[in-house]
């Protein structure tokens, strides 16, 4: 077990409003070959945490305090030049919307090849065969390298995004709700693909979702976030079977189960507020 990523006491605020804690004192670690899921609702700070790891926070936000260690180096305070060597090379990222994160006027083959040229200086035939290999790995016929994004289905576009993100064989993959926009059958395929690639390439995966069903399928460890703070974290079995925090229980209760046995219960925020006070 080697530790790949360690986040310590991460706090993010708007620059204009340093008292407003969007992410508050968040700490967790990720090991090589393991998947950690960050679970939470919109606004819980889960995406901001991931963006901070990539050094992609918007200009309006600041890392107020805390450290992000990746392979033992502090990347929270790394320069843009240093970050550019890490992003795409050491850390790959997949976003939620495969429709909007691909460039519509470039072929998918070109877009997959971009980071290979940038980081590994591959060109010509070597580049072409590497792109073909990547497409094959994500289950797309290599001859589709010349296709444009609009010629592919939603699931295929997400596969292209995955091919791009793993092109340089990164040590870590960050996936921000990669299946939310997809059909349930396609979602199952993409989750399986990500899990297989993680195992085959021995990557660490940071997976962001609001769906505990997805967590159950893919996670080794879970971090539950609520209003910028971690309310509970631990191995997936423990958190799902024996949730300790009332918010985790509430979030689990509002996910419909496939057997229809469990009554639906929306989150009672007033009760949570009273409990937290």
């Amino acid at each position: 077990m080697t530790e790949l990523l360690r986040i310590e006491h991460l706090t993010i605020t708007p620059k204009s409003e340093p008292g407003h804690l969007l992410v508050n004192n968040v700490s967790f670690a990720l090991e090589t070959g393991k998947t950690t899921c960050i679970v939470g609702e919109s606004g819980s700070g889960k995406s901001l945490t991931a963006l901070a790891v990539m050094g992609l926070l918007s200009d309006q936000l600041q890392l107020k305090s805390g450290a992000i260690h990746f392979k033992g180096h502090d990347i929270a305070h790394a320069s843009n030049v240093q970050l550019r060597k890490i992003r795409g090379r050491e850390i790959g990222m997949i976003f939620q919307e495969p429709m909007t994160s691909l460039n519509p006027v470039l072929t998918v083959g070109y877009q997959i090849g971009e980071s290979l040229t940038q980081h590994l200086k591959l060109t010509g035939a070597a580049l072409k065969s590497r792109v073909a290999g990547l497409l094959q790995q994500v289950g797309i016929p290599p001859e589709r390298a010349g296709s444009y994004p609009d010629e592919l289905s939603g699931g295929q576009r997400q596969r292209v995004m995955i091919a791009m993100s793993i092109a340089c064989e990164p040590a870590m993959l960050i996936a921000d709700e990669p299946t939310t926009a997809l059909d349930v059958t396609v979602q199952a395929q993409i989750l399986k693909l990500l899990d297989d690639l993680k195992t085959r390439m021995n990557m660490g995966m940071l997976f962001i979702t609001h769906d505990f069903g997805v967590v159950a399928d893919i996670a080794d460890n879970v971090v539950v976030m609520f209003r910028g703070e971690i309310v509970e974290s631990g191995p997936v079995q423990d958190v799902l079977q024996h949730p300790q925090h009332p918010y985790t229980r509430a979030l689990l209760d509002c996910v419909p189960d496939a057997d229809g046995k469990k009554p639906l219960k929306p989150i009672d925020y007033a009760w949570l507020n009273a409990g937290a006070a």
Binding site: D183, D211, A216, D217, V255, A258, L264
Partner: protein
């Protein structure tokens, strides 16, 4: 189909709809897509019929064709003894009052330049229900019923969250006291926690107002909770239909089995 007709509020039989698409070089060619291929469904009064399938299976086309928002190529939709497919103009508008729709995207389906009171009252105005002050009363009561306040009446859609906007969409659809409501993926754009609130709201409104729902969805966990009957669509055809418990317990078609096996979290539950 083996369903008896007296209990059914809406019966659609042998619906067909084909889209013609331009294709080929410069779009000179054309290709046809069968969006609905001999589709028959019936909705029992007071119950919820879920129509499930993946994108492109024709489920949203079915929703739109049932309400005659899109013309059918052939087939009939019988509602209260009348064939909606044969009606037009004034007669169709009369019936539409009883048939309403809740849309998927709470951001795109509300006019950003109208106040909430105008959005919700529009149906009442069009159908000339009561005086202006009666209409405002109805709007206020409906908004309270869906969990908003009368103070919200003078706000614009952008001042609300996604879940609240979906509540406005529900108020807009229900203010005319319709009999049949078509819900086209009403919770798929919402967070799980908000989703649970909206589903429970739809269920309690159904009981209170004696509504019949056609519930379009691709989320089989949601369908299990809200629906009584299910119709599974694939490539424009209904491949399986029946009671929800029965179909989930013993699906007869490979496609349905594949859909059920794709539900996240199932794998680990079984283990």
């Amino acid at each position: 189909m083996s369903v008896t007709s007296e209990n059914n509020i809406l019966v659609a039989s042998h619906l067909n709809k084909t889209y013609t698409q331009r294709s080929g070089r410069f779009g000179f060619g054309s290709s046809k897509t069968k969006a609905l291929d001999d589709v028959s469904i019936s909705l029992r009064a007071g119950s919820t019929l879920a129509v499930v399938g993946e994108s492109g299976s024709g489920k949203s086309t079915l929703a739109r064709c049932l309400l005659q928002l899109q013309p059918l190529d052939s087939g009939e939709v019988i509602f209260q003894g009348k064939n909606l497919a044969g009606l037009s103009g004034h007669d169709l508008r009369q019936e539409r009052r009883h048939l309403q729709m809740i849309f998927q995207d709470p951001f795109a389906s509300l006019n950003p330049r109208m106040k909430v009171r105008e959005i919700v009252a529009e149906g009442l105005v069009i159908h000339e229900v009561g005086t202006a002050s009666e209409q405002q009363d109805k709007v206020a009561r409906m908004l309270e019923r869906v969990g908003l306040s009368t103070a919200d009446m003078n706000k614009y859609p952008h001042q609300f969250s996604g879940g609240q906007r979906q509540r406005i969409g529900i108020a807009r659809a229900l203010v005319l006291q319709p009999k049949v409501v078509v819900c086209d993926e009403p919770v798929s754009a919402l967070d799980v926690s908000i989703q649970a609130q909206i589903l429970l709201l739809l269920q309690s409104l159904q009981q209170e107002m004696d509504l019949s729902y056609i519930f379009i969805s691709h989320d089989l966990r949601v369908v299990r909770h809200i629906a009584d009957d299910i119709a599974v669509m694939y490539k424009g055809r209904i491949v399986e239909q029946g009671k929800v418990e029965e179909v989930y317990a013993a699906p007869t078609q490979d496609y349905t089995r594949n859909l059920l096996n794709s539900i996240p979290g199932r794998k680990s539950q079984a283990a």
